[in-house]
Symmetry: D2
Subunit: 103 residues, 4 copies
């Protein structure tokens, strides 16, 4: 991103909140490690399932946050420039939404 | 478990496949780390979302596997002993299923 | 069900709550009709999406209720009779749970 | 929409495909009725759950289709007019996506 002109310093929507995302993702990594440890220590299945549900929800929340930022920045910018890119961006976003809903 | 001999070392259903689960969970940890790295390197949002959907699916698959093992072993054993524990185990399993479906 | 012996009057777990389920399903049918009507009257997309999410949640709740009843009755009975049927029932339940989680 | 010329007859994105949506929604209503009937006739729980999963997927597909149309038309139009409405529309769409993902 170092070659960006001064007038375009936020190529990706989430960048303003990058630290917040990194923090949440580090917590998610920790949750994943915790689940491995629970299996390794042969904890009770139901307790492991509870942690899996919690991790899934945390991941979904990050996904929804990134998607919102993406719509607010990348998609909006593409539409404003009003090229053929706008339709491509929306198609791409719709496909990503479908994957999130179905996963 | 009261009638189990001392050699009974598999209290939880998933233990026979423990290595397989640990392997899958290590891959999941790697996926989580990869997503952090993508955010850190400011990759394109849509590509990050694709990885989040893939990780969610991988987690769900592990959850469904653990649940299946739990039903096949813990719940089945509790029902066979036919004590009040059977109802408790099924109630507990249903609650875990509801969390998985809703997460 | 007409050929059932007197000692077996609840072949399917949900039957004791049949009226409650029918009532909930009638409400679900009404919700589906309402969504058709909203599209026909060209209501605002976002409002239609809200109703689709509400209907999905209502359906999931019925599915989770039926599954809980199924585990508590059909599966439990099969395990108690302790034939090969128990494994089949659990396998079947696990597959149904996976479909619910993934749908 | 106040500045729209009289020839503007498609206020909502899905309207061009209205018949296709109505057809799909009528099928969904039929599926809901079929599930009621299965419960009424005391069909096997697992078969009912299969139909519930199928109906949930059909509903999700309609929801994703409407959302895609909404982004392509309503949101895109709002962004093109470049008023404060664009942010409102995107916020609204993000909230609808979150409801779909979580339901």
């Amino acid at each position: 991103m170092t070659t960006m002109p001064l007038t375009e310093i936020h190529p990706h929507g989430y960048i303003t909140d990058k630290d917040k995302y990194l923090q949440r993702l580090r917590r998610i990594e920790g949750q994943a490690r915790g689940i491995s440890r629970m299996v390794d220590e042969e904890k009770y299945c139901i307790d492991i399932l509870t942690q899996i549900s919690a991790l899934t929800s945390a991941l979904q929340a990050v996904g929804l946050g990134l998607l919102d930022d993406h719509l607010k920045h990348c998609v909006l910018d593409a539409v404003r420039m009003d090229g053929p890119d706008a339709q491509v961006k929306i198609k791409e976003a719709s496909a990503a939404i479908a994957r999130l809903v179905r996963s």
